[in-house]
């Protein structure tokens, strides 16, 4: 099949931020070759710049850094940095892309990122990675964890390249990597599809003159503030303000700068992330200095995502002050402070002084997006983002070109990651038949069995140019290490990681019959995979390798004490050698897998997931508890899109797809196994049946909450949102009656202690319904009683339209909820305190619609019981990681989508479902899975069957199993190698010391520690 297609099996991903990274990794694992085109010198994008991320307060760079290395080391991802897209010709499946690779002036194959060039470069320029808060040199790497970690020269700033003088960097470069003659070159690539993930720009508040951003140093943007908070930022994480480097005592965040503002900025939309990042910055700031006063000036607090509302509540408990007001005047004082003048809710004027003002700037389209869109031949929308449609949220206007992340609408990281996977699904699906035609695989010589050999250790000590050698006496370390136990060969190398040195390492392994290798250089975090690869190529098991970090942990931190640093280098190498002597061969074993998927639930999420998986070429078993497919989508009426038609069509496509088998009236009863090999028993109308599947997608859904308040169920005029949808869908004459008044109450039994989350969709849905009513009955009177109006992203435009067309929004707070009583003439009377007049208001309405939000499915307990998942306190399924793995469950090979994850609008459910298909394909595309390696292994004879590991494991892997040799004997704990994550928790908890952590055994680590501390010189006889 593959060799007859005219389609290309490669995909171009534009942008190396978190969206591009996720897309590229998914595509590469799905069996496609990826060209990642990045405009800048390194990938990482905005996420690399952030300090912490909401709502988990995880360190942003710590989370993205492993992903950067995954991309950097992936055999099927080619990173093209400093590259622009010139044109994309052809059509879906067969595009010809022209690129321009701009000069780096550094030979990437030679640069070892020692930084000597930047030390000697005389030209200081504004450091854009730190948002201009400090300076860097004209030759630079953006940040320490950058991938590729190679320097580059900014041609406009470099003295040599602009004036022909200087040349310092070339002189000092120990690797001869500087090349001033480097020229731009044009490339041409064949790809089958394109993913655009080029991200966003931060709004430049200079144009919004009110804020005096360009005039006063202590008015800064939130992005600058992120860098200030960051430990790798301009002030090393010390919270000080730019003007005088004093610690601020009082900080104000001003929301919606460059968002929801047509007056000053021509930005109609909500930037969707600023409320949360401002709250996070306030919370983190208070962690830096507990007496700090943090105030957030806002219009509506939009904490609509999973766990966002709880985060908001916690911030209030922690003392962050929230003021509903748009600040109208800022005035400086002579000591660098800023006076804010503002009106509060009741119209009273206040004046307050702050040490630092942080502008919560919005997200805008990249300044070069129009040019890029031109090259790609795609349209932008009226806000300047890439044009997509609600029901095809990642499709651009050109077939085969897909867009994900903030490039098509401002959005947070989890939604971006979902979209990135969904874009991978779409980009892969259109070239599904070309899967595997462009990918490369590695082949290795047969492995030498060293089990019975005496250790013969080879030690390579790296100079790292002068990085190590300028501090540590490498020759002395080499001479010392020659005499360590079992060391057969010890030598120094200028750059252990250079291609030439790797070749020498391989030769040495063969020539000297080495059976263990130690490299003393930098960090295993970036370099271990490369050296392991060299071992494998030399026919040695890749786990027979150990590193000593004598750069980051020695020469860099002890620059002024070369003698002691040399001694420490000896100690570190001695420790590594001691461990290496005890290393054992370890094998990952190949396991077959069932290339079929089980999808549980056939609502919009399950249907989309099943259809996409089938379209990618894998059989699907679709389980539905009821006798109809479609779920909630069949009940929704939307002004913007034909939801019912869409779902009906989706059902038709699913029912007619040959690879999808549908089981109606069926529920899962028990499920066993692990990634690649699950077995699920189900109960259907004709009895029990069993399904073998390699992966599972859980889409059990949710439903509208049924309230006990506001006369619901007692008065026929009190409706739920879906009841009103039915009136609108059936074109009920009730809607068109003259003089009708419609009222909506938002957040009914939501965002309260019993149901503390925000359901995300209700504000927009009520506004849409209100607008539909006005479309049909322009004279209707409409009230929407809300706490915060959360029409995030482009939904804000609906909110604006509703206000401009006379929908009256009245804000209430949770302590003073509206009261509803049955009035005369069958009408309803709603009492509420008007927030502007501060007077009680009586509204007589013909219909009252309650926006009650979404409850998780009542089946949730059974679902987690069967599939061994976890539920959040609110009853939604727990994903593997809230930020970066929003589609994965903690158990490998299990995924989720739709309302069971968290309430979300249909377009996001579609995205998550398609994303689940991409994630599924990363597993099913393979012919086998590799298991084992660095994992925990139980010695059955030592196991006391105490269940400690069973209880301690964070991912529920250990089980007590029967003794296979003799069932009459006591059983023992067992960790399925395919499931163990290798975290080591069980190993440290086991009271019987019955669990071994491979590659980190007690013997190995104790030998290392002992050798580190105790000097043993004598070589054994």
């Amino acid at each position: 099949m593959a060799n007859t297609t005219t389609k290309s099996g490669a995909v171009m991903v534009i942008g190396g931020g978190i969206a591009g990274i996720q897309s590229a990794l998914d595509l590469a694992e799905m069996g496609f070759y990826v060209y990642m085109v990045e405009k800048g010198p390194a990938i990482g994008g905005r996420m690399a710049q952030l300090d912490k991320t909401f709502p988990t307060n995880d360190c942003s760079i710590c989370m993205i850094s492993p992903k950067l290395n995954d991309v950097g080391g992936h055999i099927n991802i080619e990173i093209l940095t400093l590259t622009d897209v010139l044109s994309v010709k052809g059509s879906e499946g067969d595009f010809t892309v022209k690129l321009r690779k701009n000069p780096r002036y550094i030979d990437m194959s030679k640069c070892i990122a020692c930084g000597e060039c930047a030390t000697k470069c005389p030209k200081k320029v504004s450091n854009y990675f730190n948002e201009g808060v400090d300076t860097r040199k004209a030759i630079y790497v953006e940040y320490a964890q950058a991938v590729p970690l190679k320097f580059s020269i900014n041609a406009e700033e470099c003295i040599y390249l602009t004036k022909g003088k200087c040349g310092n960097c070339k002189k000092v470069c120990p690797a001869d990597a500087v090349n001033y003659e480097d020229k731009a070159e044009e490339l041409s690539l064949k790809v089958g599809s394109v993913v655009v993930a080029s991200g966003f720009d931060v709004f430049d508040p200079t144009v919004a003159e009110t804020y005096r951003y360009s005039q006063w140093p202590n008015v800064i943007t939130s992005m600058e503030y992120e860098r200030i908070l960051s430990a790798s930022g301009p002030f090393q994480g010390h919270l000080v303000r730019p003007s005088d480097h004093k610690e601020p005592k009082k900080i104000a965040w001003l929301q919606c700068v460059g968002s929801r503002d047509v007056n000053r900025c021509d930005k109609r939309y909500c930037s969707a992330v600023c409320c949360m990042y401002a709250i996070k910055e306030a919370v983190i700031s208070k962690e830096h200095a507990s007496d700090l006063e943090a105030s957030i000036f806002y219009m509506d607090i939009r904490t609509y995502g999973k766990d966002f509302e709880k985060y908001y509540n916690r911030a209030q408990d922690a003392g962050v002050r929230f003021v509903r007001s748009r600040v109208h005047t800022l005035t400086p004082t002579t000591d660098g402070n800023v006076i804010l003048e503002y009106l509060d809710d009741l119209g009273e004027r206040h004046s307050e002084t702050f040490d630092l003002i942080v502008l919560s700037v919005g997200l805008t389209p990249r300044v070069n997006l129009p040019t890029l869109a031109d090259s790609l031949g795609i349209d932008l929308n009226e806000e300047g983002f890439i044009q997509t449609q609600p029901l095809t949220p990642i499709n651009s206007t050109r077939a085969g070109v897909f867009a994900c992340g903030a490039v098509n609408e401002p959005k947070d990281i989890p939604t971006t990651v979902m979209e990135a996977s969904a874009a991978a699904e779409a980009a892969g699906r259109v070239i599904a038949e070309a899967k595997g035609t462009m990918t490369k695989t590695r082949t290795y010589p047969p492995e030498r069995d060293i089990k019975d050999e005496v250790p013969r250790i080879g030690v390579f000590i790296c100079h790292c140019g002068i990085n190590i050698a300028s501090v540590i006496n490498v020759e002395e370390v080499v001479n010392y290490c020659k005499d360590l136990p079992f060391v057969e060969l010890c030598t120094n190398t200028l750059f252990a990681c250079s291609a030439d040195s790797l070749g020498k390492i391989k030769e040495a392994i063969i020539e000297h019959k080495l059976n263990r290798l130690v490299v003393a250089s930098c960090t295993p975090r970036t370099h271990e995979p490369m050296f392991r690869e060299a071992l494998a190529q030399a026919g040695l098991n890749k786990y027979l390798f150990e590193m000593a970090n004598i750069r980051d942990q020695d020469s860099w931190v002890h620059q002024k004490e070369p003698v002691k640093a040399t001694q420490k280098a000896k100690d570190l190498v001695r420790g590594a050698v001691a461990k290496a002597a005890l290393l054992e061969q370890m094998y990952q074993t190949k396991m077959g897998l069932t290339k079929e998927a089980l999808v549980v639930g056939a609502g919009a999420a399950g249907l989309n997931s099943a259809l996409s998986i089938a379209q990618l070429g894998y059989p699907v078993h679709l389980l539905e508890r009821s006798d109809t497919l479609g779920g909630n989508g069949l009940k929704i009426f939307s002004r913007e899109k034909d939801v019912r038609g869409y779902v009906a069509n989706l059902v038709k496509e699913v029912e007619s797809h040959p690879l999808i088998k549908i089981y109606k009236n069926s529920v899962p009863k028990t499920s066993h196994g692990f990634v690649g090999n699950f077995e699920t028993k189900c109960q259907g109308p004709d009895g029990e049946f069993s399904i073998s599947h390699g992966v599972t997608v859980l889409c059990p859904g949710g439903h509208a909450h049924t309230p006990k308040s506001y006369l619901y169920g007692e008065n026929p005029k009190v409706l739920l949102s879906l009841d009103l949808d039915e009136l609108l869908a059936s074109n009920s004459p009730e809607i068109k009656k003259p003089g009708q008044t419609f009222a909506f109450i938002q957040c009914v039994e939501s965002r309260e202690p019993e149901r503390p989350y925000c359901s995300k969709i209700c504000c927009t849905h009520s506004i849409e319904s209100a607008l539909t009513i006005l479309d049909r009955n322009p004279e209707a009177t409409i009230y929407i009683l809300a706490r915060d109006v959360r029409s995030y992203g482009f939904r804000e435009k609906l909110y604006q339209e509703a206000r401009s067309r006379g929908v009256r929004f009245i804000k209430y707070c949770v302590d003073h909820k509206p009261e509803v009583v049955a009035g005369p003439n069958g009408r309803l009377q709603i009492k509420i305190n008007d927030h502007i007049l501060n007077r009680p208001l009586l509204i007589e309405a013909d219909y009252l619609t309650l926006a009650t939000g979404i409850d998780p499915t009542p089946m949730r307990e059974e679902i987690v019981e069967v599939f061994k998942g976890q539920l959040s306190a609110e009853g939604f399924l727990f994903e593997a990681h809230m930020k970066l793995r929003p589609v994965d469950l903690a158990t490998d090979g299990q995924y989720l989508a739709g309302l069971a994850h968290y309430p979300k609008p249909l377009e996001e459910t579609i995205v998550q479902a398609k994303a689940s298909a991409a994630r599924v394909a990363t597993i099913l595309s393979k012919d086998h899975i590799m298991v084992g390696g660095v994992i925990a292994v139980v010695d059955p004879d030592k196991c006391a069957v105490c269940c400690t590991c069973v209880r301690a494991c964070p991912v529920q892997v250990p089980k007590i199993v029967r003794n296979e040799k003799d069932p009459a004997l006591r059983g023992h704990a067992f960790m399925e190698p395919a499931m163990c994550h290798g975290c080591g928790v069980c190993v440290s908890e086991c009271p019987g010391k019955a669990i071994k952590f491979q590659f980190f055994t007690d013997e190995q680590l104790l030998a290392k520690v002992e050798a580190l501390i105790v000097e043993k010189k004598a070589k054994p006889a």
Partner: protein, 223 residues
């Protein structure tokens, strides 16, 4: 199982004060399962005592050994070779049966208990254990919805709850649930309160400690 916890480190230090050679003996039975005296706990205690000796400049050698069980003579025999090395003290990390068996088998040795034997119970969660049995010798939990008032009621009363039960909690501490509240609730939930209502007869305590130290002899096993 028998739930134990390690004695405070100061008490253990006082056992070995002035001693130079110590043997630490773990047990792979109950105390391994309740994370008090298995191989790992032996290693931890040995390391603690060594560090402490080093800190104070004392000379101290500690050997470690974990037996399958310390409550069976055959396993205790396995220590013979080690014990021959003449230790100044043997610290048993089993329930109190262990040090007693060690003392009897090796009468010349100074054997010390390293654990306090707390109760017969089970694990509620990792790191949490609760008492469930008092070994009264005459089990009657079937009369109480499968719950034991002997061990789990502060007063071991047979006809509860008493006046000290409030909101499901015992008057002695908010941490102690009232077992009688649970028993009564269970019967009420099942609509069987009437069935439960009759007074319980006076319990036969003769098989408990009231009859003195107990011993079981199974004739068919003793040959």
């Amino acid at each position: 199982m028998i739930i134990c916890e390690r004695k405070p480190i100061d008490e253990l230090k006082s056992f070995i004060a002035g001693k130079k050679k110590v043997l630490l003996v773990g047990c792979r039975g109950c105390v391994t399962v309740c994370n008090a005296g298995g191989t790992k706990e032996v290693e931890i205690l040995a390391a603690l005592l060594r560090l402490d000796a080093q800190k104070d400049g004392n000379e101290l050698t500690i050997d470690e050994f974990t037996l399958e069980r310390q409550c069976d003579p055959e396993y205790v025999d396995e220590l013979a070779d080690l014990v021959a090395k003449q230790y100044d003290a043997i610290l048993s990390m089993a329930c109190s049966v262990g040090p007693q068996f060690l003392s009897r088998r090796y009468p010349k040795e100074k054997v010390y208990p390293s654990l306090n034997t707390c109760f017969i119970g089970g694990a509620l969660a990792h790191g949490v254990w609760a008492e469930h049995c008092q070994a009264c010798g005459n089990c009657i939990i079937h009369n109480f919805g499968g719950m034991c008032p002997v061990s789990r009621c502060s007063k071991s009363i047979m006809n509860g709850p008493c006046g000290g039960s409030s909101n499901g909690v015992c008057e002695i501490s908010k941490e102690v649930e009232c077992i009688w509240h649970l028993i009564a609730s269970k019967y009420m939930d099942e609509g069987r309160l009437a069935e439960f209502a009759p007074l319980q007869p006076i319990k036969d305590w003769s098989k408990s400690r009231d009859g003195g130290p107990r011993k079981i002899v199974r004739e068919e096993l003793v040959k």
